[in-house]
């Protein structure tokens, strides 16, 4: 499992981190944390385009996205 911390980064850095992690580790579960809605939505859209299952849980204003 790969864990990424993309909190506080401007667009499109969170998206690029996830994109790079997906490309470098095919099929592996990726967990990424972001703290605003835009990167959350961008990452979910990326996961959907790559046909991966993604879920979000929100804890203390942090979105924790799991891509399986």
């Amino acid at each position: 499992m790969i864990e990424l911390d993309a909190k506080g980064l401007s667009c499109p850095q969170p998206l690029m981190m996830v994109n790079d992690a997906m490309a470098g580790n095919p099929g592996e579960t990726i967990v990424v944390e972001v703290d605003t809605a835009t990167p959350r939505d961008n990452i979910l859209r990326l996961a959907a385009r790559k046909k991966r299952q993604a879920s979000v849980e929100e804890v203390d204003d942090i979105f924790r996205i799991t891509i399986e």
Partner: protein, 353 residues
């Protein structure tokens, strides 16, 4: 699949609303092909505040205030308001400063570029080449690891300051004679305050909801083949194009376009600065306003950079006129390009820090 459909529906509705606002503001009396322009209107506000003395471009534009407040309201309603700050604020100030100077050398932000394109202004189509090239350059540095570092959560009030200050400025502009207002030129052309304010509010809400960003739309297309951001922009373009065709406002030419010049090189390089700076900032001038309304202190600082940059552009004769780019504007555009490369280079490889 349902989520995707819902998302696309939202983008379509937002694009239609944005186009409708642009048409209403054009009919309302805003300058030609400038129904709504973030750079020009911030420049007018700078003039209204007396930060520059170009008499023809002074007016407290309610649209800008409306956009920030509309984004704030939408962010609160959508539970997306979050006060953050601390990602290289001074660097962002100067990126905003340069972004607005590039825009005023071209004569419009990317939003006005699209409005001009929809009116048949070929100078804007030529400028698009520079804008896209600036975005590609920014993407190159992003791929190399460019980052301005992390913003962190700050007190909720931090994100409210800019909207409150802007509302105070708007109220003062309506109730006192403190501020300047052009009696001729583009600054004197405007829709009535109520229409401008409502138009701005709707545009800001739509921009926040749809994440409308003229740099981001192209950037994400280049970067990850995500075309979503182009939906709202495409609809805005389409609606304004139809409006121009119907009303006879469409004229396919380079010469004699309203509030535009036809020096291809400086249209390209001006928008190159805008595209490059926008990618380094994480969003175009409009997006910076929407983010500032959503609580980003960094984008609020970027707004201040644009305000000061716009004032300097007119105080030091850097902004273009319909005759073309000034000597100072040409020199500073080149200086901005060099400075953008320097800023991009010194902020590499910090992404995982």
């Amino acid at each position: 699949m349902d989520t995707r459909k819902k998302e696309i529906t939202t983008l379509v509705v937002c694009g239609l609303l944005a186009g409708a606002v642009a048409v209403v503001l054009a009919i309302g009396g805003n300058p030609k092909n400038m129904a709504i322009c973030v750079a020009c209107f911030i420049r007018d506000i700078a003039g209204g505040l007396g930060l520059h003395s170009a008499a023809k471009v002074q007016y407290i534009r309610p649209e800008i205030i409306g956009i920030v407040v509309g984004a704030l309201i939408m962010a609160i309603v959508g539970k997306e308001y979050k006060a953050t700050a601390g990602s290289s604020p001074l660097t962002r100030f100067f990126l905003g400063f340069m972004m607005v100077i590039g825009a005023l050398v071209f004569l419009g932000c990317p939003l006005r570029m699209v409005l001009r394109m929809a009116a048949g202004d070929l100078n804007a189509w030529i400028g698009l080449v520079g804008f896209a090239a600036g975005i590609v350059t920014g993407v190159f540095f992003l791929k190399k690891g460019f980052s301005l570092g992390r913003a962190v959560k700050v007190g909720k009030a931090e994100g409210i300051i800019l909207p409150v200050v802007l509302v105070v400025v708007l109220v003062l502009s309506l109730t006192t004679a403190l501020f300047k207002a052009s009696t001729e030129g583009p600054g004197s052309m405007h829709a009535v305050v109520l229409v401008s304010t409502l138009g701005g509010l709707v545009f800001g809400a739509v921009a926040q909801k749809s994440r409308m960003c003229f740099a981001g739309g192209l950037r994400d297309t280049f970067l990850v083949r995500d075309f979503s951001g182009l939906i709202t922009i495409g609809l805005l373009f389409g609606i304004v194009l139809v409006y121009n065709l119907v009303t006879g406002g469409f004229k396919l030419s380079m010469a004699d376009q309203p509030i535009a010049h036809s020096q291809a090189l400086w249209n390209i390089l001006g928008l190159y600065v805008v595209g490059f700076a926008a990618v380094l900032l994480g969003g175009c001038p409009l997006r910076q306003l929407a983010l500032a309304g959503s609580g980003s202190g960094d984008s609020a600082v970027t707004f201040l950079g644009m305000l000061v940059g716009a004032a300097c552009a007119h105080n030091f004769n850097l902004a273009s006129s319909t005759d073309g780019a000034t000597m100072g504007g040409q020199i500073v555009t080149i200086v901005c390009i060099v400075a953008l490369f320097a800023i991009a280079a010194v902020n590499l490889k910090k992404r995982n820090a």
